[in-house]
């Protein structure tokens, strides 16, 4: 593994991003060449193999979560990158930004508890054939922490039925453990093209055994694998 080439992954830093350093650290631990990218940049670096929008409180979440960050200068190029099939992962606030940017279906509402929730949750992997879950086995249960106030994914019945039919619900809270009232226990959603993924749990906080579970490495490690293939397939 250590000899494998390191794909360049950009972790976007919005004003108010909090988990950008954690995400960079975890990706590098898993064999990526990750670096943080200021939101004011107009362009992604030319060698970018994947983009991660990290967790936090972009613009303080003072308006709807992610509603301001989606207008950050770099987002135009992130949308272009995604539309051209580039790998984009959104974690927590990053997921919220991706739904606001129209790259993923649904919205994220305030938790049904009306409180911020920080706890480990049990997740069921619904799909293992994606760029973000390839290191998982069918039926895998992952223990990864959530920490959010507005993590309740919602879609109207029509959109939900469509997402279910197209297999876009890649990750669910295990039955009976849904911490925020998300409809259909949805914890993570993938785009129809399979290259954009958003999830509320924080895989970057579940990589190092000293800090708890290492199940997050299955998500981020899958992304590193896919980014490596994308970057070096033709090399």
């Amino acid at each position: 593994m250590s000899d494998a080439p390191k794909p360049a992954i950009s972790v976007v830093v919005f004003p108010g991003s909090n988990d950008d350093r954690d995400t960079e650290l975890s990706l590098n631990h898993l064999g990526a060449d990750a670096s943080r990218l200021w939101h004011g940049e107009e362009r992604l670096p030319a060698n970018t193999a994947a983009v991660v929008l990290p967790g936090g409180f972009s613009y303080g979440d003072y308006l709807r979560c992610g509603a301001i960050a989606r207008f950050s200068p770099v987002m135009r190029d992130v949308v272009r990158f995604a539309n051209e099939g580039g790998l984009v992962l959104g974690i927590c606030n990053g997921f919220q930004i991706l739904t606001e940017a129209g790259l993923l279906p649904g919205v994220l509402r305030q938790n049904s508890t009306l409180e911020f929730q920080c706890q480990d949750v049990s997740l069921v992997v619904e799909r293992t054939d994606t760029a973000f879950t390839s290191r998982c086995e069918p039926g895998d249960r992952l223990s990864i922490p959530v920490k959010n106030g507005e993590g309740c994914w919602f879609a109207d019945p029509e959109l939900l039925a469509e997402a279910e039919a197209e297999g876009l619900i890649a990750l669910r809270y295990a039955p009976g453990t849904n911490p925020n009232g998300a409809i259909a226990d949805v914890a993570g959603v993938i785009s129809a093209g399979g290259n954009v993924f958003g999830l509320m749990p924080h895989p970057e906080h579940a990589v190092d055994p000293v800090l708890g579970s290492t199940d997050g490495a299955k998500i981020l490690g899958s992304l590193v694998d896919a980014a490596r293939s994308a970057a070096f397939a033709t090399a």
Partner: protein, 594 residues
Amino acid sequence: MPNDFELAVFSLLWSEHCGYKHSAPLLRRLPTAGERVLQGPGENAGVIDVGGGLAVAFKVESHNHPSAVEPFQGAATGVGGILRDIVAMGARPIALLDGLRFGQPDWHFKRAVAGIGHYGNCVGVPNVGGETVFDPAYAKNPLVNAMCVGLLPVERVLKAKATGTGNLLVLYGATTGRDGIGGASVLASQDLAGSDDKRPSVQIGDPFRGKALIEVSQELVESDLCLGLQDCGAAGLASSLAEMARGDAGVDLHLDRVPLRESNMEPWEIMISESQERMVAVVAPERLAEVREVCERWELPCTVIGEVANHGELRCYFGGEIVGQIPAELLTDECPRYELPQEERPTTNTAMEQVNAEPKTWIFQQYDQLVGSRTVRRPGLDGAVLRLDGTRGIAVSLDGPPVGERDPFRAGWSATMEAAMNVACAGGEPAALTDGLNYGNPERPEIAWEIARGIDGIAAAANELGIPVVSGNVSLYNETGGSPIPPTPFVGCVGLVPDVTRVPSRWRGGDTVLLLHGEGAELVRFVWQNAHRFSLAHDISKGSVELALHEAAEWSGIAGPTAAGANGPGVIVALAPADAASLDWPTITELGTV
């Protein structure tokens, strides 16, 4: 004769909250020296050397009165304030803890918890511990104390001192408004009768700007762009610039340059406004352009509001005219200090309210415990453990007196010992302390006696432990209608963890569970020296062995023994049966097997 502007400044800086006019003489009784101490009391925070080129800055601070008046913003801005104290030392905040005392888990309490989460979660600093106690004695005067721990290289420890005549004073962060005018004197240094009228004296927090302020400050110190940093907390610019101007420096301040968020503010209002999320940096003129560039990137206003002088005065100008001129020493070192008459009074402990035995998970689940990727041991039982580098770490705790303790000496001694024991139970060697002293009106002789006895208790415990108190805060006048709070010192402890992979965490099936009887420094030492052998260690802080075992079982997620007839004080430890036999402590009761 001082003019009105000068009187306004004096009224704030000679308040108890800023000037420690009643408590300073007593605080000298605390031990403050030690070989690890890089900065003792008197600056924004204490700093200790933790080895390997790293230093830890930490301090506890109260925000009781604002939280009594408006719990959400009061508690939130308490977190914001202690964060900026740590940032002002040149450190990056890595953990928050809070000490809460409320009448009951009611709406008021829940709003304070939400406020703490609102600020801490949004600025991206994990909240890893502290304690909550419910006691009717705090119903009208709840206590919100917040502690922050920050990390910095040893060579970077900053002092809030203006140096170099002609250097610039740069105010950056939020604009200045009328919020929090007189907070330090109106709220923090009087009782709370008629507190509804005092609501406008509570500041409003803006954690998004607070986050930008942390990042800008980090960039300024990492790039050596500033020579000193000071936050604007209680008494606003008046306090921060008086601190900077002390000694023979002096400051020329142009109040008409301060960016305002309200119109027609008077010079004295600008001077003492407690608008949040502001800091002042001392910058050499040739570095100003770089400072502006950093602030602009983070979209923070940044204004040169004055210069360092050599006249030793705080000279304030508005529209070219001098509006105030005060020797800085008068505002700081020469603040009048009072020896208070003391009178002993009998005390009676009260029983613990049952609500204190209930799980507190719902409280700390509302806080981000993980951001920063350092949290090895999460909140919920005794101290938390944070990784520094490699496998080295620190254990941190914040504790008050046992529930219902009313004897002021025992309250001080016990809070200190419990803070140290909680660090030991998390596998840390206690290294230094911070204290937040919360009492009633010191002008009453029995309260003055309580304060003196409380400080004596902390000093006694610190001396037994052989560790210094490096920072602290005093909150007095915590009483309403003549009814003071019980003596409530909060004590925070930072301890050193040699190997974070070997700290006690959860007991395992088959472990033997023992009760080590006793209390005090000897037991603290024994616990941390043997911590690598324990799967779990938990002190009996609330008096009952049954409750301690129950808490340990909940924390571990696996049932263990229940006590039969054993009594505290002491520590319960779990370990492999083979290790249990060789444990060398004078009085041990075997409680059973997991």
